[in-house]
């Protein structure tokens, strides 16, 4: 369904030997600024303000001292620039029992994100491959349940999963949270890989079979090397998704492995002590830095990942 959405991405590439596409020659006609276009740009400008102001406010607040913040203008740039809030957010803010700053959460998030991303992508890519080229009886039914299941609110499966991970002896540990991320990353990633592998010419697979290559060999030697773009998309999707996760980290990672999002929330919503808004904003920026960098660097691949999420089903 909604294949039209991804149509443009899955279309097998056609290579033209004509080096220069037929573009109109000569100077571009000058666009005049009609009232309609002024209207369009004004609307876009207003929307841009709404989207950019929070980022601007965050940066400005994080660079001010508390006395200046109490003057009460969140838009004014700092009169006296200070990086102390950033240092404190990273190194000394209290995240519950300890006051060692967000760096603890940062490294925890790395420790959670790296293995979770690798394991979930490994599992889902093999899965998508099996569903495309090695269909077995009932494989489509399992896939349908998998996609259907991705809509079930996590809260529904939360407690039974606590029991399961506890029985497996991995509750409250890094393995536990990797396990959970692998499970919940599976629907979207499997869909992503399945759709991609389906767009590849089947002759490729058939030829390899004729040459005697088996299940794993075809996957590792032929499919993986030519699927690097989709692995990149999956990587971006998983790193941002797992980095931004809060609920699973809170429940399954265990106290000493709390990810950055949980620590950030602990800093900001601590009930005791003076509220240090500048530290809070620096902490929020630090937490958002990894996914934002990925977003700005990866550009189209990020969009492709979330668009794939929209065609599940």
């Amino acid at each position: 369904m909604t294949s039209e959405l991804l149509h443009d991405q899955q279309k097998p590439r056609t290579y033209s030997f004509d080096a220069r596409p037929h573009e109109p020659a000569g100077a571009k006609p000058a666009k005049r600024l009609s009232p309609a276009r002024i209207m369009i740009y004004s609307l876009l400008f207003v929307a841009t303000l709404y989207y950019l102001l929070p980022l601007y406010v965050m940066v400005m607040t994080s660079l001010k001292g508390l006395p200046e913040i109490r003057l009460g203008n969140i838009f004014s740039p700092p009169m006296k620039l200070t990086f102390a809030p950033w240092v404190k957010a990273w190194d000394g803010a209290c995240t519950g029992l300890y006051c060692e700053g967000l760096k603890v959460g940062f490294w925890n998030s790395i420790k959670i994100t790296v293995p979770s991303t690798i394991v979930s992508i490994a599992v889902a890519s093999v899965n998508g491959y099996a569903l495309t080229n090695w269909k077995f009886k009932g494989s489509e039914v399992f896939f349908a349940i998998l996609i259907f299941g991705s809509f079930i609110p996590y809260q529904v499966m939360l407690f039974p999963l606590v029991i399961i991970t506890r029985e497996l002896g991995i509750f409250g540990s890094l393995s536990g949270i990797v396990f959970i991320h692998t499970i919940f990353g599976m629907p979207i990633l499997t869909l992503l890989f399945r759709n991609y592998f389906m767009s590849l010419p089947p002759e490729l697979f058939k030829a390899a079979r004729v040459d005697g290559a088996g299940f794993w060999r075809i996957f590792l030697v032929i499919l993986v090397p030519m699927s690097l773009p989709i692995f990149a998309v999956a990587l971006i999707l998983q790193v941002t998704g797992i980095w931004n996760d809060f609920l699973f980290g809170l429940v399954f990672a265990g106290l000493k492995n709390f990810p950055m999002t949980v620590q950030l929330n602990n800093i900001v919503n601590a009930t005791q002590g003076v509220k240090e808004y500048n530290v809070n904003m620096a902490a929020a920026l630090l937490t958002g830095l990894v996914p934002l960098s990925i977003y700005f660097i990866s550009g189209k691949l990020f969009v492709r990942g979330i668009a794939a999420g929209a065609v599940k089903g």
Binding site: A47, P54, N73, N127, L146, G149, Q155, V156, L158, N265
Partner: protein
């Protein structure tokens, strides 16, 4: 692939099944098993540990007598309706504006989508600060000379849900925009030529020709966004912790608090079963329609 099926079917199946084992286990144990477990145990008297003491609908009766649950439901309905309407209207309008062969198209797109890369926790923290009545936006505008300016949604019991809405829309509208843009771009260019020849204005072409053609994309986006709204949790935790009082509580938070903080498992399970039912009501008709459509080819 029929030739392949004949060659060594047993071995082929075995390999693929081993590879698909994680998926089979996930679907059977987690998605089906865990959901069924939750539904079954929502009919028990479980407190801090699951018990096999079945008490019928007792948990549900208690649930719907609890004002915090009723407030949670009311909040998620208000939030859900507004979030759907606004994210789709704004998302579509932004997509249509970007579609007008504008300059800096990719810059605008990047700006509208970047909040989607941020977590709900970061989103909640930022908007909690901006909407803070004593030091945020309200205070700033007042300090600029507009003394009577009032914007304290987050502090009011009846308005705090709209504060959450402003933050949620900031985070999520870009996502809808991207999908709507993909939908608009996937419609045939010929219809624009035809519409222009017939002298149909642009906005009418979007409204009456392009949107109906995008039915599939719109429905799917709608289901994803709606299923996401039901899960609303992180944003509330980060931004208001359910306050002031219990005025911004949501169902997902009710589930978490009763399961893990209050040791009242039965209530948590009953509440999550209601959430499950809601999601099923959203997706079953959609899945049925889509499946039916696929079958017809």
């Amino acid at each position: 692939m029929s030739t392949l099926k004949r060659s060594n079917p047993l071995f082929r199946n075995l390999n693929a099944k081993i590879a698909a084992l994680p998926m089979i286990a996930t679907t059977l144990v987690v998605f089906l098993g865990c959901s069924i477990w939750t539904v079954v145990y929502s009919f028990t008297k479980s407190r801090s540990l699951p018990l096999n003491d079945f008490v019928g609908l007792m948990q549900y009766e208690r649930l719907f007598r609890t004002s915090r649950w009723l407030i949670s439901l009311e909040n998620i309905v208000i939030y859900g309706v507004f979030a759907l309407v606004f994210s789709f209207v704004v998302g579509f309008v932004l997509a249509a504006l970007i579609d007008q062969k504008i300059r800096f198209e990719s810059t605008f797109r990047t700006i509208f989508l970047y909040p989607f890369a941020l977590s709900f926790i970061v989103t909640g923290v930022v908007w909690q600060w901006i909407l803070n009545p004593t030091m945020g936006l309200q205070a700033s505008i007042r300090s600029m000379g507009w003394e009577s300016f009032t914007f304290d949604l987050i502090a009011g019991r009846d308005t705090v849900i709209y504060a959450l809405l402003i933050a949620g829309l900031w985070q999520g509208t870009g996502f809808v925009m991207v999908l709507m843009l993909a939908g608009i771009r996937s419609t045939d260019d010929e219809i624009w030529k035809a519409a222009r020849i017939d002298g149909i204005p642009t906005w009418k072409t979007y409204l009456f020709i392009v949107i109906p053609m995008m039915r599939g994309v719109i429905m799917t986006t709608l289901v994803i966004v709606a299923a996401g709204i039901v899960k609303l949790y992180d944003l509330v935790v980060a931004m208001t912790q359910g306050g002031p009082g219990i005025s911004s509580e949501v169902p997902a938070k009710y589930v978490y608090d009763f399961m893990f903080a209050r040791g009242n498992l039965g209530q948590g399970l009953a509440a999550s079963t209601v959430m499950l039912t809601t999601v099923l009501i959203i997706i079953i008709p959609w899945a049925y329609l889509e499946y039916g459509r696929k079958k017809k080819g």
